[in-house]
């Protein structure tokens, strides 16, 4: 299959995206039904051709077509097929193709599931998505073509960066992009609402499930990235506040604020302008992330190769999309504060405070990430901003959220609810937290972070469980946990689990660099690590040394671990750490160098870790993801549509 087919497919996709972008918006503006009806077929057509292009590139990888430069740069004859497929999105050009492919998945899903929405609204939403697609396909075709040929064709290729040759690699980018790109749907809904003057009052209800699912995917994507960094390259670290990590975290923070603001707007009609602004922010941060990673403006372990031309293209695209939407917001956002009023002690106020902290946190991460660039611009010298800054300020900003979390379901919308239920929760969760904190203090030797982590986690988890119990007791079976509420409870519980994981790991992890001769034993965290020597090992496209470390506890063998040092086809060396995963702790061993280079049978340098509760970090994140998905599945979001369609139609008739 010739790669030029892929390029042709992209050109056709671009034309269809133009049609999808321009015609329905024109039609919605002029009330022209025929133009509006172009939206769905154009979207379907674009999706077909983008999928075709994606398929052609995958085919080229699978069949070792080194006449394609991108394939030659990122794979070779020895690379196993599953990594060849993952290599499709392993570098800049291919990852953009993945981006647009996923945008099409969302667009097609929206086109298929929106038949109960008013046509004008759907036309606008699909139109906006079409315009975004135009920008990305144009970017690919004009600056980052994955189908460019490399002639004469080399007999063998380069290699996929060994760090990327890992199961996490096959998983992390697609899931992350599902989230990143998914915020475009919430964005498109908001723009459509602004364009339409918000005639359809219920548009927020339609937007909510899409936003929740996107946020869920983003949560999973970030968890996957963190886990992969831990397993592959972090020396036991799971988050580095690296600019590219921050680029995915900022939309997550704003997305979390958005799903709560949407709840307020949907149920109470308040904060409409703020919800619209947040959706613009969330997607803008996604686009910003795309810019940061590819423009070379910031150094990062993660960044794709930079090129000023590409940077400029994305910057212009960013300026048009975000600038345009912010201008539209300034002109068309609802000016009168609508919706139902609410008192000081109300769920709305709690959500507002949560929104405030999340948004300030996102702004803080943005400031810290961009500050080195600002330092260059304002000639302040070369400034470095790292984990001590981000970690410190982020923790401070999250404290109010952690404190308010258990009260969420107990608060009432609108006027003051009773304070007694709040006091009840506070006392019970507080006592539980205190008791566990004291227990932690004694078992960990007064490690401050462990105490704080235990207290915070128990406060959140017990507070959430108290509400679960309340519903169990008070409501009949079948109506106890509507999906939206179940999602909320899962996610809030996940916050507690996450807190426990982070703070306990930080407080209790032990790391030690040791020199060990075969037969020697080191003890960490109550586990005895016995080094049993190093043998030669190999894999499909690598050769290396494999160590054997036997772990025992109280004389019983717990695990046999095999850390490796691999040399890949093109000479790149990679350390594959051995991890013995567990619910309450991870054991982690990395192989270093032989103490004497000429004596590989002798002593080696090893790094040993005992990391308690580290998996809870990702478990918490996955619970949050589940929460997002459950909330989106609430049947309320599906059944009401017909009734609203009639109401909206009637409203339109009376306006016309």
């Amino acid at each position: 299959m010739t790669p030029e087919l892929g390029q042709l497919a992209l050109i056709l996709a671009l034309l269809l995206a133009l049609a999808q972008g321009v015609l329905p918006l024109l039609g919605a503006w002029r009330g022209n039904g025929a133009l509006m009806a172009v939206a769905r077929p154009a979207a379907a057509g674009q999706a077909v051709f983008v999928a075709l292009a994606f398929g052609v590139l995958s085919w080229a990888f699978l069949h070792f077509d080194f006449s394609v430069r991108y394939v030659a740069d990122n794979s070779n004859l020895a690379l196993p097929w599953y990594y060849r497929l993952a290599a499709v999105w392993g570098a800049h050009e291919g990852s953009l193709l993945l981006w647009i492919f996923i945008l099409n998945l969302w667009t097609v899903a929206l086109a298929a599931l929106s038949h109960k929405l008013p046509d004008v609204f759907v036309a606008r939403v699909l139109g906006v998505l079409g315009l975004i697609a135009v920008g990305f396909i144009a970017f690919i075709l004009f600056t980052s073509n994955p189908f460019e040929r490399l002639l004469p064709m080399p007999p063998d290729g380069g290699d996929l960066n060994p760090v990327l040759q890992d199961p996490g690699m096959t998983f992390h980018p697609p899931v992350l992009y599902m989230g990143y790109v998914g915020f475009s749907v919430a964005f498109a809904f908001s723009i459509a609402a602004l364009l339409g003057g918000e005639l359809e009052q219920a548009w927020v209800r339609w937007a909510r499930p899409w936003t929740n699912v996107a946020w869920g995917f983003l949560s999973a994507g970030i968890v996957a990235g963190s886990w992969w960094a831990y397993a592959e390259l972090g020396w036991g670290g799971w988050w580095f506040w690296d600019p590219v990590e921050n680029a995915s975290f900022m939309p997550w923070l704003v997305g979390a604020a958005l799903i709560h603001a949407q709840a307020v707007t949907e149920k109470r009609g308040a904060l409409r302008a703020w919800t619209i602004l947040l959706s613009i922010f969330a997607f803008s941060l996604s686009l910003l992330g795309t810019f940061l990673v590819r423009s070379g403006v910031l150094t990062s372990v993660h960044a794709f190769a930079s090129d000023p031309k590409r940077g400029l293209f994305i910057l212009c695209f960013l300026a048009v999309v975000v600038g345009g939407s912010l201008l539209l917001y300034a002109l068309r956002a609802p000016k009168v504060a609508g919706g139902k009023p609410f008192g000081v002690v109300s769920r709305e106020t709690a959500i507002l405070i949560g929104n405030l902290m999340l948004t300030v946190a996102a702004a803080m991460v943005l400031l810290g990430t961009l500050f080195p660039l600002l330092g260059d611009a304002l000639n302040l010298g070369k400034i470095s901003v790292g984990p001590p800054y981000f970690g410190f300020l982020f923790t401070l900003l999250m404290i109010p959220i952690v404190l308010l979390l258990p009260f969420g379901p107990y608060l009432r919308w609108g006027e003051k609810g009773g304070l007694p239920p709040l006091k009840n929760v506070a006392v019970r969760a507080g006592i539980a937290a205190l008791a566990c904190a004291i227990a932690a203090a004694f078992t960990t030797g007064w490690a401050l972070k462990a105490i704080a982590g235990t207290a915070a986690a128990v406060w959140c988890c017990v507070g959430t469980l108290l509400y679960v119990l309340k519903r169990w007791r008070e409501m009949p079976a079948g109506r106890r946990y509507p999906a939206e509420m179940a999602g909320m409870l899962l996610a809030h519980f996940g916050v507690g689990v996450f807190l426990a994981g982070v703070l306990l790991t930080e407080a209790l992890s032990v790391e030690r660099d040791v020199r060990m001769a075969p037969g020697q034993v080191q003890t960490i965290g109550g586990y005895d690590f016995r080094f049993d020597g190093v043998h030669v090992a190999d894999g499909p496209n690598w050769q290396g040394d494999q160590g054997t470390v036997t772990v025992m506890r109280n004389g019983r063998e717990i695990a046999v671990m095999h850390p490796q040092k691999r040399t890949y086809t093109r000479g790149q060396v990679q350390t594959e750490s051995a991890i013995d995963a567990g619910v309450t702790r991870d054991l982690y061993v990395a192989l270093g160098e032989p103490m004497d280079r000429n004596d590989p049978e002798g002593a080696w340098a090893l790094r040993l870790y005992h990391k308690p509760f580290v998996r809870w970090i990702w478990a918490g994140g996955l619970l949050m993801m589940l929460g997002g998905f459950f909330s989106a599945a609430d049947k309320r979001f599906r059944l009401r549509r017909e009734a609203e369609q009639k109401v909206a139609a009637a409203a339109q008739e009376s306006h016309a």
Binding site: P308, G311, G323, L326, L373
Partner: protein, 180 residues
């Protein structure tokens, strides 16, 4: 009116990014400006490459400005810089001292034999400890030290004819103006 705040804030951000892209075309992002400019060069006592029994100290080098060029046989970019030093070295006007950084003396000598020796004097820092005092973090790097032993200019990365004309020669000329 306040609704326009996000829009104008965003415009500032775009300006910042535009600046970033422009700045990148002219600067190497990895360059870290030295805090030692206009500060005395660290005290050093390093053996000569060809005669380790003899030691060169900072005090011995006082009285005339000179250039220290950090190089090594394992450094690819030094290989690229070397022809420039061979052709321009004499014409710069100040003595060129080679600073062999974390290298095996035999390999360094062989490398100089192969590529030519533009240096009047070569000193060797096998362990790299003294280089830390100079704030060296890669090779090649070049320091301009004045007659009083103060570092006046540092070039990170290979010297090119353009850099020599644009930055190094003016720095040397400025030194000449100070001291008669």
């Amino acid at each position: 009116m306040s609704r326009l705040v996000p829009f104008f804030g965003f415009l500032l951000l775009v300006a910042l990014f535009g600046f970033g892209i422009w700045w990148n075309t002219r600067h190497d992002q990895r360059e870290v400006p030295s805090p030692l400019i206009n500060k005395p060069a660290p005290a050093y006592a390093l053996p000569k490459l060809d005669d380790p029994a003899q030691t060169v100290t900072r005090e011995a080098m006082l009285g005339k400005p000179y250039l220290i060029n950090v190089f090594a046989s394992w450094c690819v970019a030094c290989g690229e810089e070397h022809p420039v030093l061979m052709s321009e070295g004499q014409r710069i006007g100040v003595p060129l001292v080679g600073y062999n950084y974390k290298d095996e003396p035999d390999e360094a000598k062989a490398w100089l034999e192969r590529h030519g020796n533009p240096y009047g004097l070569v000193i060797a820092d096998r362990e790299g400890r003294t280089a830390i005092d100079f704030g060296v973090y890669g090779a090649p790097e070049t320091f301009l030290v004045d007659a009083k032993g103060v570092i006046r200019y540092k070039r990170i990365g290979p010297l090119t004819p353009a850099v020599i004309e644009r930055e190094l020669k003016p720095a040397i000329a400025a030194l000449r103006k100070e001291a008669p």
